[in-house]
């Protein structure tokens, strides 16, 4: 292990403490950005369950995010049901969509899986995009009432923080279990898994269910933050952006996607102040990552630490032998 348990817990506690204090330190706009980072990071981490840990080409993860968001938004805006129902319904609707689309796609592998998912997801987008009467069409829905138990920007922040931390904890828990190890084995060598008795498709479908559930959670959080919802969330370009976040941060690590999300949103916020060409900047960043940092930022950092450790160890060994 690179870091002992004490260091891990210590840094985690420090981060949580810092997070809890943020509303009192940060100005309103930065708090908004931080909230957005948290929920987008959750979304990216949920995607990484499938791509980094599962090895599947989940090209249209945004659909499940969007379904979660729209479900919550529609219930809150168009019905009189209590808001906690909307909050619970979102992730389950997303997971249900995940199962349906997943069952279609799981019959195929790799590229076919991804392209079929884009096709099916785009149908959902097209319906939402055109159904002015129900989903608000290309305008989306606005002015969605926040649940009454959440109070102002601070309340929103703490709600999102709590939901994100709980979700991350659950995902980490799932990925550290023996199921998580099996999933990674499937990523590395699905044929070998089949030959040792593992039902590859079943395990992959289950991963999709978990991942889409948490994507739905992120969708609900988006609605809470923005009080609105748009078909852009369901558009495949956005799905690929989440992919980029995972890649940037490091898709073979757990914390990588969150870091990637933070970087992309930070870059986007900064860039939008100075220029209209954020998309081009994102493209250039992506090319730089592909060429120079294929393991992502966190992956690269961990690799360097590992290498420094190994050379330090061998140095001390040599010193020990000599001395």
């Amino acid at each position: 292990m690179l870091f002992n348990t004490g260091m891990k817990f210590g840094s985690l506690a420090a981060i949580i403490a810092a997070m809890l204090l943020c509303p009192f330190i940060l100005p309103k706009f930065y708090l908004y950005v931080l909230t957005l980072v948290l929920l987008t990071g959750l979304l990216a981490t949920s995607l990484n369950m499938v791509i980094g840990y599962g090895g599947m080409y989940q090209f249209h993860h945004g659909v499940f995010y969007g379904v979660g968001a729209y479900t919550a938004a529609l219930i809150m805006a168009k019905t009189d049901l209590p808001s906690w129902i909307a909050i619970i319904a979102g992730p389950f609707a997303a997971a249900f969509t995940g199962v349906v689309i997943g069952l279609f796609c799981i019959r195929l592998t790799k590229l076919y899986f991804g392209m079929l998912q884009i096709s099916l997801g785009s149908l959902v987008w097209a319906i939402a995009f055109r159904w002015y009467g129900f989903t608000g069409g290309d305008d989306g829905l606005h002015g969605i009432p926040i649940p009454s138990f959440i109070d102002g920007p601070h309340g929103i922040y703490y709600f999102v923080l709590f939901a994100v931390m709980l979700s991350l904890f659950c995902m980490y828990f799932i990925l550290s279990s023996i199921y998580g190890t099996t999933l990674r084995a499937i990523r590395d060598n699905p044929d070998r898994c089949a030959s040792i008795g593992i039902n590859v498709k079943a395990h992959q479908l289950i991963a999709i269910i978990y991942a889409t559930f948490f994507a739905g959670v992120a969708g609900v959080l988006f609605v809470v933050l923005e009080q609105s919802v748009f078909p852009d969330l369901l558009f495949w370009v956005f799905s690929l952006e989440i992919f980029v976040m995972c890649l940037l941060g490091g898709w073979f690590t757990f914390a990588g996607p969150m870091i990637g999300a933070a970087m992309i949103i930070a870059l986007r916020t900064c860039a939008s102040i100075y220029t209209d060409y954020w998309t081009m900047i994102l493209g250039i960043v992506l090319i730089l990552i592909i060429f120079y940092l294929p393991e992502g930022l966190l992956g690269y950092a961990l690799k360097r630490i590992r290498e420094t450790r190994i050379s330090a160890d061998s140095n001390t060994e040599q010193a020990g032998v000599k001395g």
Partner: protein, 311 residues
């Protein structure tokens, strides 16, 4: 006698109405058919690249858009004259081809040894960059060009008028398809690309430089995208966002047609075009949903596409 005349009038009217309805549907289908040809030209390029390189070129739509904008600029250079249009039609795909060649030689080919996923994300990066590049060079206003004189106006057939330019497109589409087919079936280069699609390592093993095969396939595919853009230019407003719409449609067409199958791209385009025309006729608000539904139904039955894909 009055009764008879009235009866005849009513009969005439019903027949007229029926003709009109059929006429509208027919006109819709006809416009759909010409749009289908554009979709086919663009999708065939995408399918071609996919078949040889196994990479879905996400930047394909951007090259289509650049083709349209470039055609606009070239035509403007010649003052929007007829000659200008034909020169634009010839040069714009060349311009797109050169652009794709540069992207391929400078960056893309360094990635051929990498993970498949990284290649796909590279094309996504290209799409992002090209999209903003177009905004940088041409701005955000709508552009438009006119068809050349000989292709302007309409022809009256069976009581409905059909734009001449659309007829032109309906002729050009299959020509491009036949040309592409001839290329892969008869020329040496074409046969090599087909072989590389089936077994890349074997082509490498017999001494052919697979890198150059990939380069050729990519550039040819992109030229087709650019050609599609140049051809469509007189019929639509040339705007930003063209890339997003076309790439989504091309993806779907290629998926239902069979990845890498040109005839499949043709079939897919027909299905796409007709289901959209049908949708416009039936439920205009949800017209764009109809092709997606067709896609879902087809993929339910044949998840790898209707025709055989390059495995």
């Amino acid at each position: 006698m009055n009764g008879n005349a009235a009866g005849c009038d009513e009969e005439d009217k019903t027949m007229e109405n029926a003709a009109l309805d059929l006429g509208t549907l027919g006109a819709n289908c006809f416009v759909g058919l010409s749009r289908t040809m554009i979709l086919f030209i663009v999708s065939s390029g995408l399918s071609f690249i996919l078949g040889v390189m196994r990479v879905p070129n996400i930047a394909h739509g951007s090259l289509y858009m650049i083709g349209a904008f470039a055609a606009y600029s070239i035509a403007e250079l010649f003052g929007g004259s007829t000659v200008g249009f034909w020169i634009a039609l010839a040069l714009s795909p060349v311009f797109v081809g050169v652009l794709s060649l540069i992207a391929e030689r400078v960056m893309f080919r360094r990635l051929y040894q990498r993970e498949h996923l990284e290649l796909i994300l590279f094309t996504f990066a290209l799409m992002l960059i090209f999209g903003d590049l177009v905004k940088l060079v041409w701005g955000t206003d709508y552009k438009s060009i006119l068809a050349p004189d000989m292709l302007r106006g309409s022809v009256i057939v069976f009581g409905s008028s059909f734009p001449v330019y659309n007829i032109f497109l309906i002729v050009v589409g299959p020509l491009v398809g036949v040309g592409l087919w001839l290329f892969t079936a008869t020329t040496k280069m074409g046969k090599i690309t087909r072989a590389a699609a089936v077994d890349r390592d074997m082509v490498d093993a017999i001494g052919i430089n697979v890198d150059w095969v990939f380069c050729g396939a990519f550039v040819i595919g992109c030229i087709l995208a650019g050609l599609g853009g140049a051809l469509v230019a007189p019929t639509v407003s040339i705007t930003l966002g063209m890339d997003h719409t076309i790439i989504m449609e091309a993806f779907l067409i290629v998926t239902i047609g069979g990845l890498g199958n040109i005839a499949g791209a043709f079939l897919g385009s027909l299905i796409f075009g007709f289901s959209q025309a049908f949708g416009v006729y039936l439920m205009p608000q949800f017209a764009i949903v109809f092709p997606y539904i067709a896609v879902v139904i087809i993929l339910l039955i044949k998840p790898k596409g209707l025709l055989k894909s390059a495995s």
